[in-house]
């Protein structure tokens, strides 16, 4: 491999023809061999074994393992004089899952405090474009949704969780419509559905390609307007709090990005809704994720003793942008491929069925890039074409009608997807695994719930499109209800006993206490805000 791989962008653009005669993609004989050879999850150098904690001995992505087996940011001395707030339910995270959990808890009479690292609504939810998976078409069923989800996840997902989510689907959409979320309709008033990768029926409902934005602004407004929900913004969680024996979660510690002060919250139920890990740039990949996606929830849950799962499995979404540079890693929704767009290598050939599961499509793109059939931009990054002009030619006006966000993002940078094919490369998009939960979102640690991307078990080793937006509302509401039902009198004493225990474990395992976690912000964005 060398830096001179592929054809320079200008040359490749000149060769591109939206009306070229292109045949079918080659049949993929052995998808597993393709994954083994090219998908980062399957390459031995990207994983290691955890040495301490509830998952000792399990495989874990190397950089994530460093954070899971790191020292805490705070100790008891930091908490001296920190103000304490008592609340019924504490939600950590202000994306879709956190808002759904807060609203569900408040609807059942709990006093709720929602604390978020950045601004309420700053999340991966707001960027989600494609839609929500829900089995509502006559030729579809809840059972088929369950089967597609499990198969897409390579049959290691937890069937009980998947069934719970799929069965919740129709009611989740009703709940969202009641809250004021709009969806695309057909002429007869049905919800418009699309079929996407790994699905046996049309099952994606959507609000053009702004589904996440539409969902997030409705949820955000609902939370802001709710009388029983208090919101703290710009307040990352730096540690959980435990009871005397360090086995039960009874609150959390936050450090304000505004005044730098620590604040403690005491409660009987903590709901972690902190999202994913894209901003750790695992294996050197760019990411589609928002700036706060640094895996903080995984680190905090693991330190207090929660079981995690599938920590060596991440989703590299096939169509992350390579060009223009300021949108590097940002997503082009799978909906574009679902609508019929093909992918072409630098030789102008299709190389894989575009609607195979995401991990396989990504591996195929990485193969084209490594074997030199790619387009290279000036700074050496490479990609393949997503042929949007051909889609526009075959269905004139489609991009403007169904993908306004795609066009809007390019407006400021002089690229028009209707005329120029998009240069794409897999981008770190989603954490497939996460904290082990039951159907109520309860973790293996009493008092601690986990919902949304931070939780694991639903998507197996590969999430199919539209299940993330469904999961966050389905399990967000479930955890909100369960957390409210837990009516003990709350903690007598709050401690950092679990931090002391984790430190002892690390010392005994001979792991140096040089690294501290959670990460809070990526280093390139942390200047003057966050010094560990």
């Amino acid at each position: 491999m060398n830096m001179n791989n592929g054809i320079p962008l200008a040359q490749a653009s000149a060769l591109y023809r939206p009306d070229a005669d292109i045949g079918s993609p080659p049949v993929l004989a052995d998808p597993q061999a393709l994954l083994n050879a090219f998908h980062p999850d399957y390459l031995g150098s990207s994983v290691t074994k955890l040495a301490v904690g509830a998952n000792a001995g399990d495989s874990c992505q190397r950089e994530l393992a460093g954070l899971l087996q790191a020292e805490a940011i705070i100790d008891e001395a930091d908490l001296a004089g920190a103000p304490v707030t008592d609340i019924d339910v504490l939600v950590i995270g202000g994306g879709g899952a956190g808002c759904a959990a807060a609203l569900a808890a408040a609807e059942r009479g709990a006093r709720v405090l929602l604390v978020t690292k950045l601004r309420l609504g700053d999340s991966n939810t707001v960027m989600a474009e494609g839609g929500i998976q829900v089995a509502i078409e006559p030729d579809d069923s809840i059972q088929r949704h369950i089967e597609d989800t499990l198969r897409g996840g390579h049959d290691i997902g937890n069937p009980e969780l998947v069934a719970a989510m799929a069965e919740d689907g129709p009611d989740v959409i009703r709940w969202l419509i009641r809250a004021g979320m709009q969806f695309e309709q057909t002429a007869s008033g049905d919800l418009h559905t699309r079929r996407a990768g790994g699905m046996n029926a049309a099952r994606i409902v959507h609000c053009r390609d702004y589904t996440g934005l539409e969902m997030m602004r409705v949820l955000r407004e609902s939370v802001i307007q709710h009388r029983a929900i208090e919101v703290w913004e710009q307040s990352p969680a730096v540690e959980l709090l435990s009871n005397e024996d360090g086995r039960k979660c009874v609150g959390a510690v936050f450090k304000s990005l505004i005044d730098g002060r620590f604040r403690m919250v005491r409660t009987h139920s903590v709901i972690l809704a902190t999202g994913g890990v894209g901003r750790l740039h695992l294996n050197g990949f760019p990411t589609s994720n928002h700036l706060g996606a640094t895996g903080d929830g995984l680190v905090l849950a693991y330190r207090i003793g929660a079981c995690l799962r599938d920590l060596d499995s991440f989703q590299y979404h096939p169509t992350g942008l390579v060009y223009p540079p300021h949108l590097s890693g940002k997503l082009v929704t799978e909906g574009v491929r679902a609508a019929g767009a093909w992918m072409l290598n630098a030789a102008g050939q299709r190389f894989v069925d575009e609607l195979l599961p995401r991990d396989i499509v990504s591996a195929a793109i990485l193969r084209e890039c490594q074997e030199g059939r790619c387009v290279r931009v000036d700074d050496g990054r490479v990609g393949v074409w997503l042929d949007t002009p051909r889609l526009e030619r075959s269905q004139p006006g489609l991009l403007e009608r169904q993908f306004p966000k795609l066009l809007a993002r390019f407006r400021v940078s002089g690229v028009d997807p209707r005329h120029d094919p998009l240069l794409i490369h897999p981008t770190l998009h989603y954490q497939n695994g996460g904290v082990v939960i039951d159907v109520n979102g309860a973790t293996t640690v009493p008092g601690l719930y986990a919902v949304g991307e931070v939780a694991g078990g639903i998507h197996g080793r590969n999430r199919i499109m539209g299940n993330a937006l469904l999961e966050i509302i389905s399990f967000g509401r479930r955890a909100g209800v369960a957390a409210t039902a837990q009516r003990d009198r709350g903690p007598k004493k709050v401690t950092l006993e679990h931090v002391n225990r984790a430190r002892r474990d690390l010392t005994l395992a001979g792991i140096p206490l040089t690294q501290a976690a959670p990460q809070i912000l990526p280093d390139y964005a942390a200047k003057g805000i966050w010094n560990r």
Binding site: R119, P138, R208, H326, D379, V412
Partner: protein
């Protein structure tokens, strides 16, 4: 061993964190501007967010999605005597530009819970109770000029005040709730929240999709045991 990571290592974020290779002031590639009062020498084609990180501007916490859908990175821009607003992640560096990241808009003054609305016939009256300022628009265009998404905010507010909630809401499809129009409005109309209200009541009262309702009804009957043994045809 497969050199699998050679291509991956191309994803180098050093352009965000390190000094660019061309740092001398007279290089045409270097753009000089100020961000939050700090002088920054940036590379061309950087956004204001990238330039702020690159220049080590402290305490820039209002950044999140980096693709102009979260509405967090509100900036005030001064070019000579011209003052405008925008989102930092979609604004590119320019020589002599003065940029200041704005604090978030305070929580809205208008309160309603959508579950309180049960009768669609009085929704216009409820709207004017909740947003009494919406009919006071003096057509100053401040909201239109401030919108980073090019929404005809003023026209949409007029539609909302006349009860055309569906059309008004549609105009706000691309609204990212940056609330720059709320900041700009001298009548305190809170246009972004008016727009969201319009979208929400349209869905709340009018979205009744037959295919969704049919499946919900199937599930309800199953739960009540009315379908008996045929619990699920696919099992």
């Amino acid at each position: 061993m497969r050199a699998a990571y050679c291509t991956l290592n191309f994803f180098d974020f050093s352009h965000l964190t390190k000094t660019p290779m061309t740092t001398d002031g007279d290089n045409p590639q270097t753009i000089n501007l100020t961000i939050n009062g700090v002088a920054v020498a940036a590379s061309a084609a950087m956004t204001l967010v990238e330039a702020a990180w690159h220049g080590g501007v402290p305490r820039v916490t209002a950044v999140s999605c980096l693709e102009s859908v979260c509405g967090s990175c509100r900036v005030l821009l001064r070019r000579g005597k011209e003052v405008t607003v925008n989102l930092a992640c979609q604004t590119f560096v320019e020589d002599g530009l003065e940029a200041v990241f704005l604090p978030p808009q305070p929580p809205p003054l208008h309160h309603y819970e959508i579950s309180d609305f049960t009768d669609g016939w009085n929704i216009q009256a409820r709207f004017h109770e909740i947003f009494p300022e919406a009919s006071h628009c003096r057509n100053c265009h401040g909201c239109v000029l401030s919108c980073p998404k090019g929404i005809d905010v003023e026209g949409a507010i007029a539609l909302a005040a006349a009860g055309h909630f569906r059309d008004a809401g549609e105009a706000f499809l691309e609204c990212v709730m940056c609330e720059l129009c709320d900041s700009a409005c001298p009548e305190l109309i809170a246009p972004a929240h008016v727009g969201l209200f319009c979208r929400r009541v349209t869905a709340h009262f009018h979205l009744r999709p037959p295919n969704l309702i049919y499946r919900l009804e199937e599930q309800r009957k199953e739960k009540m045991g009315l379908t008996g043994a045929s619990h699920d045809e696919h099992e």
